[in-house]
């Protein structure tokens, strides 16, 4: 800290510090804290208070209708109500005194009920304010179906990570250690283009494969296993495998580049030396290349898993509503469909915890430190 102020002077140094503090508090820590705090507040949708609020709604509406009737007489025929020329029409009869009395009595009954409900609501609210506001119910309330969805999402993401690692290690190896400048430049561009094309476009592109008139069905029709004429085609969107394939496709290159970056810093002489000393190919990988590349592999695994588990775009576009929802879609629904933010925050925090656990596991397995990760 002292050094910072000495070199940059107090105005600049305090400005930089202020920026960092702002970022750290308002953007990173406090939002997460508020999300977690909200997730521990259980919003009971079936309790007495919710029922009172609903009942009050109904009563107010009823009261309004009755008051309107009392002031305007019984409903005219609809034609008269639509046509402004006929507002004074005598076809709108007046209430008899009897009816009026009955309406007024009903109104006062409604008024009484409203008053008593308001008192009860007030009492309940006060009681609730006295209560300890936190509970873990949002975490224990997850239904079996949602738990299964979560397990499936995590399982799929692990599979995606493993496939990506298995496929990308040879690619990164070729790119970093096995090609001359020209081949390396061509391969790098060939990998960089799909990496840099908008994520959504890459996902969207798969619709041309899975669609009714897509590549797969056309191929099946060509070999005679499907027929467009008799509607014997496969609706590919129904299979969870489609999500897996597209997840792999969309996030696989987040594995290639971190591995490539660390592998490229390996001194090729080390590989040559190992070979000259008689090491077999797999031994060179195991004892020379992989140990050097560990931080890159760790970053690749972390990024791929995190992106796959937290992907909303892939299941949203690919399933087209024909598959059970993905965990991220459940979270989305909690926020924007059933609007239960408390439960949604809990679901979201669970996802965050899983990613943190995964990061810690990867760091333990590969024995890398956080500093090494982001280089």
């Amino acid at each position: 800290m002292k050094q910072l102020f000495e070199v940059y002077g107090w105005p600049l140094a305090s400005f930089f510090s202020a920026c960092v503090v702002l970022w750290l508090t308002i953007l990173i820590v406090l939002p997460q804290f508020f999300m977690v705090e909200l997730s521990f507040r259980f919003e009971d949708r079936g309790d007495r208070l919710t029922k009172i609020v609903n009942d009050l709604d109904v009563l107010y509406r009823d009261k309004g209708t009755k008051e309107y009737d009392l002031a305007n007489g019984p409903a005219c025929n609809t034609l008269g109500m639509i046509n402004p020329m006929m507002t004074g029409d005598s076809s709108c009869a007046q209430f008899s005194e009897e009816d009026k009395l009955r309406l007024e009595q009903q109104l006062s009954e409604i008024e009484d009920r409203i008053q008593s409900l308001l008192v009860e609501e007030q009492n309940l609210k006060e009681a609730k304010a006295q209560q300890f506001p936190y509970s873990t119910k949002n975490y224990t309330a997850m239904s079996g179906l949602h738990a299964w969805t979560l397990a499936k999402t995590v399982g799929f993401s692990l599979i995606v990570t493993l496939i990506a690692l298995a496929a990308c290690y040879p690619v990164a190896y070729t790119l970093a250690l096995q090609s001359g400048p020209v081949k390396s430049a061509i391969l790098f561009t060939a990998l960089f283009v799909p990496y840099a094309v908008n994520e959504l476009m890459r996902i969207y592109a798969w619709l041309t494969v899975f669609d009714l008139h897509g590549l797969l069905n056309a191929f099946l029709a060509f070999v005679g296993y499907a027929s467009f004429a008799s509607d014997q085609v496969i609706i590919w969107y129904r299979f969870p495998g489609t999500v897996l394939v597209v997840l792999v496709y969309t996030y696989i290159l987040f594995m290639v580049f971190p591995i490539y970056n660390t592998m490229a810093t390996l001194d090729k002489n080390q590989v040559d030396a190992a070979r000259d000393l008689g090491a077999k190919s797999w031994r060179i990988h195991w004892r020379v290349i992989i140990p050097h590349t560990k931080p890159g592999i760790a970053v690749g695994c972390i990024m791929t898993f995190m992106l796959a588990a937290g992907s909303f775009s892939v299941p949203y576009i690919i399933t087209r509503g024909l598959q059970p929802k993905w965990y991220t879609q459940l979270i989305y629904d909690k926020f924007f469909e059933s609007s239960n933010w408390n439960l949604g925050s809990a679901y979201s925090f669970i996802l965050l915890l899983i990613c943190i656990l995964f990061i810690l596991a990867v760091m333990a397995i590969f024995r890398v430190k956080l500093r090494q990760l982001a280089q």
Partner: protein, 263 residues
């Protein structure tokens, strides 16, 4: 004998690479091709006739253009904010010592390792407490949270290569700290700052997962693409894809040539 197995292994490796690259390009090629087919929903195999009609149709989509403008509006704020935050953090982290630095560092790169949707959610939950509803503003904040980490890493990498004696010399010769920063440090960091600004722009422009959770009722280009891809699925989006792919290919080639040339 040994070289023979080596060659066979090499052949295997190379054919795997070719297949891998084909796998990466096949969907993109299909998408681009379908944009020139008059059939809708877009298809390559159900070929009707060659057409360029989907491009004028794309530019006539008012809603899409409006969403594109929103994407730029967001980026205009996200880019300077993330570069400023990243620069401040990079300078602080390089000058601080001790355990606290590691903790601070861990906190500042944590948004990179957090799922995007969690960042979006945390942002709207936080700002709701102050009566701020989800809109472009919350998206700007949510995106800045994690995009700022990338300028931080890029600028830090450059700062670590800086010759500290240069700064000390300037100070010894009587330069004010502000003058030093403006005339020595900032020009030295300029390439890193420009790179990170470009990266921040791309990340903001292309972001979907954080944006869709924090945008509320508004839209950006990406949320609109996703919504149309799920519901409408017309070749108009393929036409947009053609533009995206073309621009990306041009920039990738320039980038690679530039990299090779620098070597």
């Amino acid at each position: 004998m040994r070289s023979e197995t080596f060659d066979r292994g090499n052949l295997l490796l190379n054919s795997f690479i070719v297949m891998f690259v084909m796998f990466m390009f096949l969907p993109l090629i299909l998408m681009v091709t379908a944009a020139f087919n008059s059939a809708s929903p877009p298809s390559v195999t159900n070929w009707q006739e060659f057409t360029l009609d989907w491009f004028p149709r794309l530019f006539a989509e008012d809603r899409l253009i409006g969403c594109l403008q929103n994407s730029f509006r967001i980026a205009v704020f996200v880019v300077p904010a993330s570069v400023l935050l990243g620069l401040s953090a990079a300078i602080m982290l390089t000058r601080l010592q001790g355990r606290a630095t590691n903790v601070l560092y861990a906190f500042l790169i944590s948004p990179m390792l957090t799922p995007g949707i969690v960042l979006g959610i945390a942002t709207i939950v936080f700002w709701r407490n102050f009566g701020v509803g989800a809109d472009l503003y919350t998206t700007i904040v949510a995106q800045t949270t994690f995009i700022a980490s990338f300028p931080m890493l890029i600028i830090m990498a450059r700062l670590q290569r800086q010759d500290r004696y240069q700064e000390e010399a300037a100070l010894d010769l009587g330069a004010s700290p502000f003058f030093l920063f403006r005339r020595v440090t900032l020009p030295f960091l300029l390439p890193a700052i420009l790179t990170s600004a470009a990266l921040a722009f791309l990340m903001s422009f292309e972001n979907y997962n954080t944006t869709v959770f924090s945008i509320g009722g508004s839209c950006t280009l990406t949320t609109e693409i996703a919504a149309q891809a799920r519901r409408a699925h017309t070749p108009v989006i393929n036409a947009l894809g053609v533009i995206f792919v073309t621009v990306t290919v041009i920039f990738s080639v320039i980038y690679t040539l530039h990299k090779q040339w620098k070597k």
